[in-house]
């Protein structure tokens, strides 16, 4: 017999990986984020980005937006496992390329350099709703909102224009039109 030296079965075929955005409504209580994140790490799911804040102070509800990759089976498991958590009220998920959903990330760029460089940097950022939040003779802080890959690209391009510091958020999402997440 062939020697599989393990008491466990060998891994089966791997399915295709998709990127999904998962939105979770939870009670805003101590440890709730740890429960959600712990579920991901404990079961070997992956988190690409994470955004969380209270959205309803009256009902004490926070909204967590998680970008993750996985096979359709894994995504389904993530949803079902999240729904089992006691403080979780509602879970929604959609594919990253879903046309019915908007999602955005925000980034802050600190650019240090002469006028020309800073101007060039600002110009490059223009199409992503650029806002200048701070300005000195040598530096500026630019805020943009864009997609993940656009921010990735900007971060790369701004390097030669004096980018010294980058801070960015996880993605947040919302449906287009009058519909809300079920």
């Amino acid at each position: 017999m062939s020697k599989a030296k393990s008491a466990y079965s060998i891994p089966g075929k791997k399915g295709k990986l998709d990127t999904h955005i998962i939105v979770v409504w939870v009670d805003n209580e101590a440890g709730v984020l740890a429960r959600v994140v712990g579920l991901f790490s404990g079961r070997g799911y992956n988190i690409e980005s994470l955004a969380v804040a209270e959205v309803d102070p009256k009902l004490n509800i926070s909204r967590i937006t998680i970008v993750t990759t996985g096979t359709p089976q894994v995504i389904e498991q993530i949803k079902l496992q999240l729904k089992k958590l006691v403080p979780v009220h509602k879970v929604a998920n959609f594919m990253r390329n879903d046309k019915k959903v908007i999602f955005k990330e925000m980034a802050l760029f600190k650019v240090v350099g002469n006028d020309l460089k800073r101007k060039k940097a600002l110009n490059a950022c223009k199409k992503y709703n650029a806002v200048i939040l701070d300005k000195t003779k040598k530096s500026c802080v630019i805020q943009i909102t864009a997609l993940r890959r656009e921010i990735d690209l900007m971060a790369k391009n701004l390097k030669k224009l004096g980018l010294v510091s980058l801070s960015r958020t996880g993605a947040v999402a919302m449906t287009r039109g009058a519909d809300t997440f079920r």
Binding site: K5, G31, L85
Partner: protein, 588 residues
Amino acid sequence: MSKLYSGAEIVFKCLEDQGVDTIFGYPGGAVLPIYDELKNFSSVKHFLVRHEQGAGHAAEGYARSSGKPGVALVTSGPGATNIVTALTDAYMDSVPIVCISGQVPTHLIGTDAFQEADTTGITRPCTKHNWLVKDVKNLAKTIHRAFEVATTGRPGPVLIDIPKDVQFQKTNYTKYKKLKKLNGKAKNNFSQSEIDELIKLMSNSSKPIFYTGGGVINSGPKASALLRELVYATGFPITSTLQGLGAFPGNDNQFVGMLGMHGTYEANNAMHDCDLMINVGARFDDRITGKIDEFSPKSKKVHIDIDPSSINKNVKVDLPIIGDVSEVINATLRSIKKKKLNFTKSNKQKISKWWEKIEKWRSIRSLDYINSEETIKPQYAVQRLYELTKDKDTFITTEVGQHQMWAAQHYKFDKPNRWMTSGGLGTMGYGLPAAIGVQVAHPNKLVIDIAGEASVLMTMQEMSTAVQYSLPIKIFILNNEYMGMVRQWQELLHDKNYSESYTAALPDFVKLAEAYGCVGMKATTPEELDDKIIEMLNTERPVIFDCRVDKVENCFPMIPSGKPHNQMLLGPSDKKEKKITGKGKILV
């Protein structure tokens, strides 16, 4: 103004309102206020264990054998970390446990205080939910919620961490009224059309099988009764997982034995070749499925489970039915009776060829072993134990390893809640404290822990508990001086390199028993075995029975790693088997 109660009093008020009469625990600094109140609540009896893990497993044994939640009370820091194994075990096997732990006073939390541990952090992944109660006003609400979470839906362990200052603080207590409504996470979510679809699949199938699991037991005795009715009505074969044993009588002809890694030849082959698999409260665990890509390739799969996240987790199914087992089976039976009065007859005809095939597999007698007159074969010991106890209402617990599988194979259960074993987590040392919990729940019944000598030494200290409370548990040790299952894997897969699997300095179990103040016994030959077992059964005190068995016996049949169900290893080869086993049946 109504009377004010301290947090410690509220703990007991809540336990009383929940109908809890038994707790297992161990005192310590951070739970002293609760222990101080114990004397004032005579309806709650406390059992002092010798290690917090023992409290957890005893609570598990209590819960599994009685259907009520088990309650454990431990102190902060090491008390809480010691019970983590038992909580994880309960989580894997869906056992309702409520664990109350003490915590350092709130103003000291986060300061690395004496016996401080982040208990809710540590137990977060091994409980259904846990709470740190920082305000006494929330205490009663939290405890009642904890019981609700533990016992509804798919049951499981919960933990409530109570800082010492909260135990002293005072507040009002209003009597708890049990809500009829189920926890929002545990609805019966199936429709009549799904039941109709199931019945359609059942009447069209020519090679069906029921694959039942612990969910049937967890759904209560009614679920087992309904399952029997359904299985008899259909005439289908039925197999069971380790945890489901007892839901259907083990000696009934329609029962084809346990399935999985050490399941019977007929059960595993039937699972592989069937055209309809009806999973009732089981979870397609890796010890059941073997190689997942080749798991039952030709079948339509139905999965009845109360936990939606069990559906399609490991195996893709065609018809998921989310609901409580007894509700689903009840609905199915009702529909069968209403629509197809002759379902039974027409079906039995249709599947008679299937039964012929199963009988052929069965004739291989895969559980057989070569008996000996000189040494006690472990299988023989379990068989004799079964024969000599089957007329009593016997409760069996086990440790983990070869003896556990032999017990599952050769002890035939015919009632639910009689079989307590650590399946999911595979916790060595489970059986002895679990037996204590079972005996507490059933004071006048016979409770036997079928044990291995290595496992039982992990929680041996709990014999002291058994003696203290005069709990006449019987520890039946199949002693082969090896960690048998480890030794078996080393023999089969690691070139007989028996690395650290032999215990060279075992205690004398008879003297050990005497040291604990219970009864020690020993059997070394098959000849004396029966008499010794009878003597054990007639002893009204706790017994440690050292049954010296064959040191190198292996547990067969067996699905080797990474193989599908139809490629089983059968027992020590004999000629008859070689003829019957065809292509792909590898013999050792």
